[in-house]
């Protein structure tokens, strides 16, 4: 399946998410002599699902290298290198494994600038990949954007397309002065996107991914694609105009953009890749309510993972995650009420829509 870019224009080309990652990693190494990439498997032939393949050969083992199982240690090494002038990029093939590095990320990287009165700079990029579907299970599927964004000092982004990577990574790598966590999504890696060398780059904050007037959908990561597909469906079937906002930066969203959209539509769906409790959806509501409790005409609809660890059985996994079916239903319900009577897509499992992903990893 092929997904249209954020702002398709002339002069476009097709590029997979993994391809975009590889291009930006390559460019980072080429453009910045102080940049290096370290992580388990970055130099092997699978190269973090194709996002670092061939770079060790091209730039040498001093700049692209494998490490032992040492998540916390590796992150400390990266912090130290960063403090004295290097730009480290670290990888975790599952977000869940970055939890071993929480101490270094939260107690050190997030705080060094502030705690040392501005003496320290800790620029680095931590790339973590969220797993989903085909029995990834409880320890290979977590999506910790809210966790990381909770801690002041961390910049957290969730690129939802090849364009977002092409636009954001060069602005982050060696340019952003602090630690950045980019939460990539495994299901996006193999998807082809149309990308363009646009002047309107995807910013390091939120942006409108699709203009609309009836309902605002605030989405993250792969849920942006789900929302875009759903928006097309409701337009075709019910003439509904949904505005999709890709929150994109979890730590630095454009709340004015979100509030302005909701002021226009009065209706809200939040579609996130993680749990709703104390999460992105909760924060969106907080931001709206503190601005103006009257912004919403009716209670919003929230889509996210069920409040449980992720089960592996397909029958449970399929209902654990919001599907295309539910995303469409949420939009229709917001605009037409729960008795909207419009037929829903039967697609309940994301692997049906993203057929190119079939396990194991």
């Amino acid at each position: 399946m092929s997904i249209a870019a954020v702002k398709p224009v002339q002069g476009t080309r097709v590029l997979s998410y993994a391809g975009a990652l590889l291009e930006t990693m390559d460019a980072a190494l080429a453009d910045h002599a102080n940049t290096f990439i370290m992580g388990q498997g970055v130099d092997d032939f699978k190269g973090i699902f194709g996002s670092t393949t061939g770079l060790a050969e091209k730039y040498g083992a001093q700049r692209v290298f494998d490490v032992p199982l040492m998540e916390e240690g590796m992150t400390g090494v990266a912090i130290g290198a960063s403090l004295v002038g290097d730009y480290p990029i670290t990888t975790h093939i599952r977000a869940d494994f970055s939890f071993l590095a929480m101490n270094q990320i939260i107690n050190l990287a997030a705080k060094y600038r502030y705690m040392f009165g501005g003496l320290m700079r800790c620029p680095m990029l931590i790339r973590i990949v969220v797993g989903r579907s085909w029995g990834q299970g409880a320890q290979h599927s977590q999506s910790p954007q809210a966790t990381f964004a909770h801690y002041p000092g961390l910049t957290v982004v969730m690129p939802s397309s090849s364009q977002a990577i092409l636009d954001m990574y060069p602005a982050i790598i060696n340019r952003h002065p602090g630690p950045v966590i980019s939460i990539e999504h495994r299901l996006l890696y193999n998807l082809d996107f149309t990308v363009s060398p646009s002047e309107h780059r995807v910013p390091l904050t939120s942006y409108v991914a699709r203009k609309g007037s009836d309902v605002t959908v605030v989405a993250t990561s792969v849920m942006v694609l789900e929302a875009l597909r759903a928006a097309q469906y409701v337009e075709d079937k019910a003439g509904i105009s949904a505005e999709i906002i890709d929150l994109n930066s979890i730590s630095h969203p454009d709340w004015d953009l979100v509030a302005a959209s909701v002021a226009k539509t009065g209706r809200l769906v939040v579609a996130d890749t993680s749990w709703l409790e104390y999460g992105v959806a909760a924060e969106v509501c907080r931001q709206l309510v503190v601005r103006d409790p009257g912004l919403l005409r009716q209670p919003p609809t929230m889509l996210g993972m069920a409040p449980a660890p992720c089960p592996t059985a397909k029958s449970l996994e399929d209902i654990y995650y919001p599907s295309q079916h539910e995303t469409v239903d949420a939009i229709l319900t917001q605009v037409k009420g729960d008795k909207h009577g419009i037929a829903l897509p039967v697609e309940r499992s994301m692997t049906e829509g993203y057929k190119r992903f079939r396990g194991p990893f």
Partner: protein, 330 residues
């Protein structure tokens, strides 16, 4: 180094063969049927390394609390022989070890002494130290055994656990399934020490090396290590060299990855495959070919029956999604 000082009794040899055969044939079934896409769970196959878990678990004669990694199949089957719950879990059925919620990486049967297997590398290691602590305090007579890979020994928590077990004088049996690789990174590219045992020893553990590839050797070694650990109130570290026949995760081979050579692996390992060797031993024990075939047939039928039961077992219903998150009555 090989620890089979004298041939084991015939009954033990047969039992080890059965256990090996069960693990191997269960995984051969998986290899054959995985492409049907009904076992939707990432699998890290034990094939080739089964003799490690089979040797150790058999030596403990059921009185073990086993902790394993995501490379879980052999440890689970060696400890429990429970193909019913095993296949049910892989097929995502309510009759599985985790009622279909855990999958291949997370098998558990605490009632049978297989406490758990864990998907995050090395996480099971300190947990086993805790079990040893409680087993002593509660006088259960059970021995905590933890299986992990050579990659897990990169991790800080492995060294913390070895240190803690020695410090607390706990007879934890640390078993390193040393297949030489973490995914495709060889141990030499991750660890500077020539031998893990040399580094572990000064922490205060007894260390044992075995590169025999032989289930009887591992069995004898484990017997000795467990007895000494209890007698001297010290942990034991067993470094068992082994070989993973298949790719890191999944059911294929990985000869085309370019990190190891098929011919070398065949010469050094597959040619002296532990199951094949053990089968020959049965012949030396005067077990007739017909009798061996009967043993094999019985196990094959048991696997088939388990698979059939699993595929007919109920699929988890939606209400199970929210059940058991907290400690409410599930």
């Amino acid at each position: 180094m090989s620890f089979a000082r004298e041939p084991l009794p015939k009954a033990t040899a047969i039992q080890l063969f059965k256990s090996l055969y069960l693990a191997r044939r269960s995984e051969e079934y998986i290899v054959k049927h995985y492409p049907e896409n009904l076992m939707r769970t990432p699998m890290h196959m034990s094939m080739g390394q089964e003799f490690v878990c089979v040797g150790v678990c058999s030596a403990l004669e059921g009185k073990a609390d086993v902790f394993a990694s995501y490379r879980s199949h052999a440890a689970f089957l060696a400890q429990t022989h429970d193909t019913d719950r095993f296949f049910s879990e892989l097929y995502g059925r309510t009759s599985g070890t985790g009622e279909g919620k855990g999958g291949s990486m997370h098998l558990a049967a605490p009632d049978q002494g297989h406490i758990l297997s864990s998907g995050v590398v090395a996480t099971q290691i300190p947990v086993a130290v805790g079990a040893a602590f409680a087993n002593r305090q509660l006088k259960t007579g059970r021995t905590a055994v933890v299986f992990f890979g050579d990659g897990a020994a990169d991790a800080g928590v492995f060294w913390e656990s070895i240190n803690a077990a020695a410090l607390f004088k706990l007879p934890v049996i640390f078993v390193c399934e040393d297949n030489g690789y973490a995914v495709d990174t060889p141990r030499e590219a991750r660890q500077m020490s020539k031998s893990l045992s040399d580094v572990v020893k000064p922490f205060g553990a007894d260390t044992y090396e075995d590169d025999s590839g032989d289930v009887e050797s591992v069995y004898s070694l484990a017997k000795e290590a467990v007895a000494k650990a209890h007698r001297d109130r010290r942990p034991a570290f067993l470094n068992i060299k082994c070989c993973r026949y298949l790719e890191h995760v999944g059911i294929g081979t990985d000869w085309n990855w370019g990190y190891r050579d098929q011919a070398t692996v065949e010469r050094e390992w597959i040619d002296r495959d532990a199951l094949k060797v053990q089968r020959k031993r049965l012949a030396e024990h005067q077990v007739s070919e017909a009798a061996i075939a009967a043993i094999e047939d019985e196990i094959d039928k048991a696997i088939q029956a388990s698979v059939k039961r699993a595929s007919q077992a109920p699929i988890p219903t939606p209400d199970r999604l929210h059940a058991g998150v907290f400690y409410e009555k599930a």
